[in-house]
Amino acid sequence: MVHLSSFLQKQYHGGYVVIRLALAGHKQANRPFYRIVAAFNKRARDGKYIEQLGTYDPLPNIYNEKLVSFNYDRIKYWVGCGAHTTKPVAKLLGLAGFFPLHPMTVTEAERRRAQAAQTQASEAKDNTEEL
């Protein structure tokens, strides 16, 4: 059972702490922004969380970068307390170098590369057919 230091929170039966992405709710359509958050499993995705551990911006900026921030110290604490991480958070942490690289990251990259090669090949075929 997870032992927590704060007593202002509801006691859940069989619940556990997760580290997951929560939508930050800036009320702008088509502009997502995620907070990396330690929350109870049963809570709503955007509901009350225990602590914010970082941010993730899925849209690339003018320098073509996706910015992510982590509070490594507190993440270590929560993982030490027995928190689970969701798949996207695990992938991000793998990309950051904090966790080992997630196998799905590699698989997805390979699939995307295969897809790009396929579309390129079909485009080349279309161009030669047109000519």
């Binding site: 704060s6 910015l67 509070n71 507190r74 950051a96």
Partner: protein, 287 residues
């Protein structure tokens, strides 16, 4: 009922509630900037070159900067703002951030200095800094601004925008000081915080003649003397330094030795000294 239980638990455990550090963020992009402590250690030893931050050097530079009260307290246009109170934790004041970059090719590397500065500004915005630097820092704009004699504003903006050891900071400062020296407009910076920096730059480039001439023109004899003594501190192997050490010269004699040995405009300096000598003699008889 549950609320009462929770409240009781809370009261009992008040002292145990830990301080959740909401403000500490560590970035994905990493680099570790080491502070230049080695330089300070070297400066303490007798034979090493004196650094800008030495107390003796700073003392002399602050003396020659002068204190024109009218210029210092001149009214500056400022927006009226209510005072803001910010509580900063120690971590926020600290500059150590871990920033890494994952390239599309898969390599994980530390972020470069420019990326670091940019991202620290994104996550911990410093007042007055912009994400993209002010257009004033391009070559043509700087030339235009120098022709309008607004070197101070450029240097103030540069101080706010860039880190002291970034390449842009050094470039802007070098360009400003070069321009000032070319036109001899030393008086623009006289009572500002930038004067010491300019003097230091010229000293290291060994081109203090213009500055000494300017000081003598404005009859600032003491300042000229301290500047020459600073020059001897910084370049102890030059001829004038060795001469003055041999003769244990002080005051105007230092200036004369410097004029003979080092400067290219020795004639002008000697003339000016002769003009000021009666004034100096009066001072010494009065004291």
């Amino acid at each position: 009922m549950a609320a009462v239980r929770a409240a009781r638990r809370l009261f009992r455990s008040f002292s145990q509630v830990k301080n959740v550090q909401q403000n500490k963020r560590i970035l994905l992009r990493c680099s570790v900037r080491t502070f230049c402590t080695e330089h300070e250690d070297n400066a303490l030893s007798h034979n090493a070159k004196p650094q800008f931050t030495d107390p003796a050097v700073q003392d002399i530079l602050s003396r020659i900067t002068g204190l024109e009260l009218e210029k210092v307290f001149r009214p500056i246009k400022q927006e009226l703002k209510l005072p803001e109170y910010k509580l900063m934790t120690d971590e926020q004041l600290n500059q150590e951030r871990f920033i890494v970059v994952r390239e599309p090719s898969g390599t994980l590397r530390k972020a470069s200095w420019e990326e670091r500065d940019r991202l620290i500004q994104v996550y911990f915005p410093k007042e007055g800094r912009k994400l993209t630097p002010h257009p004033i820092f391009t070559e043509e704009n700087m030339k235009m601004v120098f022709s309008q004699d607004r070197h101070e504003d450029v240097l103030d903006l540069c101080l706010v925008q860039f880190e002291p050891d970034s390449s842009d900071y050094i470039r802007v400062h070098a360009a400003t000081y070069e321009d000032l020296e070319k036109h001899g407009k030393y008086d623009l910076l006289r009572s500002t915080r930038h004067f010491g920096g300019m003097a230091w730059y010229l000293l290291n480039a060994r081109r203090v003649d213009g500055l000494i001439v300017d000081m003598l023109k404005r009859e600032l004899l003491q300042d000229a003397v301290s500047l020459v003594s600073l020059f001897h501190m910084v370049h102890p192997h030059s001829e004038s330094a060795q001469e003055s050490a041999l003769q244990q010269a002080t005051g105007t004699d230092l200036l004369k030795i410097y004029a003979q040995k080092e400067s290219q405009r020795s004639g002008y300096i000697e003339l000016a000294l002769q003009a000021l000598e009666p004034a100096a003699a009066e001072e010494s008889t009065a004291t």
